[in-house]
């Protein structure tokens, strides 16, 4: 959409009140269809994907973008045209876009996606989660096989705090006073959040919200001693770099979060097979290393993906 047509929409919507407002809303046949410029940082020409183009999306999370880029590059290798739409904020935003066909491929995580459809889903093995997920997924969406690579939430602490309180599992936290955990604010209401850990392990924690998705500020809060715990993703290279200890979860409070592609109907068997080659090769250590290159070397997702796919002989 050009500036001019955007302006026309705006003038209509604002100037003529309800009727025009309705018209402006209807003029885009699909409310979640792509508008101009929504194509992330990629230099593609704009959103209108033609029939042969596969639209690959990613969450606003660098690690997810790298996985999306892996998919994008093998799809291109398979001769398909790819439109990259990275760094989309919320699951509630991109899932409808997947269903409507505005997006075709999205890297997801098994446990969180299942809980999106079934908030009360109990923890289980990766295989069980995957099959439960394929049952609840809405029509039009297809689940491909999951990777060994996992990126799950964790109760992580420093090695000092772990050794001075002899901690190995989350259960060992029971009885410790004034425990604070740095996490994204929604951790507060997640099944494995303060309420869950209280019920399952008898542990009391208070959430200190840091909205960087377990990023450097969360890690810093932990290493500075502002908090005793942090909700870090297990693929976070900061865990190794800072000698941090993710506490074990013997009661399986936290669902497995294996990397899994969710695709639209437009992704045919050939395209799915291309994506699956990435999934089969992606180990947990690989994911940590990919992430490390992103945060430590500040490499772009395109370069990281190219390097890894070359190493594995996939492109």
């Amino acid at each position: 959409m050009s500036i001019h047509s955007t302006r026309r929409h705006l003038l209509g919507a604002l100037g003529l009140g309800g009727v025009a407002l309705g018209a402006a809303a209807c003029s885009s046949s699909d409310p979640f269809a792509e508008e101009d410029g929504a194509g992330g940082g990629s230099s593609d020409g704009g959103g209108s994907a033609d029939a042969g183009t596969i639209v690959v999306g990613s969450q606003a999370y660098y690690s997810n973008e790298i996985i999306a880029e892996l998919f994008a590059q093998v799809l291109e290798k398979a001769g398909l045209t790819v439109d990259r739409q990275y760094q989309i904020g919320q699951r509630e935003v991109y899932l409808p876009e997947l269903e409507s066909g505005a997006l075709d491929v999205m890297p997801e995580y098994t446990g969180n996606l299942l809980q999106n459809y079934e908030p009360d889903a109990e923890s289980a093995s990766p295989e069980e989660i995957h099959s439960a997920l394929s049952e609840v997924l809405p029509d039009g969406l297809r689940l491909l096989p999951f990777a060994q690579a996992t990126d799950q939430d964790s109760y992580t602490t420093t090695s000092d705090f772990a050794s001075s309180n002899s901690l190995t599992t989350i259960a060992d936290l029971a009885g410790l006073k004034d425990l604070k955990i740095a996490a994204n604010s929604e951790f507060e209401v997640r099944p494995y959040g303060p309420e869950g850990v209280k019920t399952v392990y008898g542990v009391d924690v208070t959430v200190v919200p840091v909205e960087d998705g377990g990023g450097p500020l969360t890690v810093q809060a932990l290493t500075d001693g502002d908090v005793q715990l942090a909700d870090l993703y297990t693929s976070d290279p900061a865990i190794i770099a800072n000698d941090l200890v993710p506490l074990e979860d013997p009661e399986s409070l936290i669902l497995p979060q294996n990397v899994v592609p969710v695709v639209s109907k437009k992704v045919d068997d050939d395209a799915a097979a291309a994506i699956t080659t990435v999934i089969e090769a992606l180990s947990a250590d690989d994911l940590v290393e990919l992430n490390r290159r992103s945060v430590e070397e500040q490499a772009s997702s395109a370069d990281i993906a190219k390097g890894w796919l070359g190493e594995k002989g996939l492109v």
Binding site: Q90, R91, E92, A182, N184, S185, E186, E188, V189, R190, V208, P209, V210, E211, P216, L217, Q220, A221, D224, D226
Partner: protein, 223 residues
């Protein structure tokens, strides 16, 4: 969105369990108010003396206008995230950003307050043998008080609407409801948080408007 999130937001606000405890509405509102007052107060300590000086002497006016313009153009979200990565979680990072946000309005209010004094009045004061300090404190500041308070009004409304960003980097305030609602798709909670921010902004704005009227110098008040 299922149901009507706007109506559900009011149900959320009416729920008594949301009105008590450390994460209850009174506590969060107090925190939010505290961040706002602190941010504006620190900014005022810098901007008011500077604005009065620039307004009275005209020295550094160009620099002050340019700096204030540049400060206005800085995106607060960027400042908060940048400062937080430098100094860690806590109040320091958002407070720095709020102070930068509040300075331009306060500076403009203070300098235009001094400048708005009628030159004839100022000359008369000078002719009476007043020192420059006396002219500033007894003539220009009292006459321009409504504009100074106006600067506070502008700064306060901006900071109160922005103070939700404190919750982005490990603090409290009404932003907690907004980010929690956003992150967990609990839109009623997010709307409720926004409504509380708007209400707080309104109360502060009205209080300052009243102050502005009360500070109108007697001679210029309408009969």
């Amino acid at each position: 969105m299922n149901g009507n999130p706007y109506l559900e937001a009011f149900a959320w606000l009416g729920d008594p369990t949301h009105w008590s405890g450390p994460s209850g509405i009174p506590m969060r509102t107090l925190e939010h108010l505290g961040y706002t007052v602190l941010g504006v107060a620190v900014a005022a300590l810098i901007a008011i003396p500077l604005g009065l000086f620039v307004g009275h002497t005209g020295i550094g006016k160009g620099i002050a206008v340019t700096a204030a313009g540049a400060a206005r153009a800085l995106p607060t979200l960027g400042l908060v995230t940048l400062f937080a990565l430098m100094v860690g979680i806590g109040l320091t990072a958002p407070m720095l950003a709020f102070v930068i946000l509040a300075i331009p309005s306060l500076l403009a209010g203070a300098s235009s307050a001094v400048e708005s004094a009628d030159p004839a009045t100022v000359d008369a004061a000078r002719a009476q043998g007043m020192t420059e300090w006396q002219i500033l404190t007894r003539v220009e500041v009292p006459l321009g008080m409504p504009l100074i308070v106006g600067g506070f009004r502008g700064a306060t409304v901006q900071v109160v609407a922005t103070a939700m960003l404190a919750a982005y980097v490990g603090n409290g305030g009404l932003g907690r409801y907004i980010f929690l609602g956003l992150g967990s798709q609990d839109y009623p909670q997010m709307i409720a948080g926004s409504v509380l921010v708007i209400a707080l902004a309104l109360v502060l704005d009205l209080a300052l408007l009243l102050t502005q009227r009360l500070t109108l110098p007697r001679g210029t008040r309408p009969a």
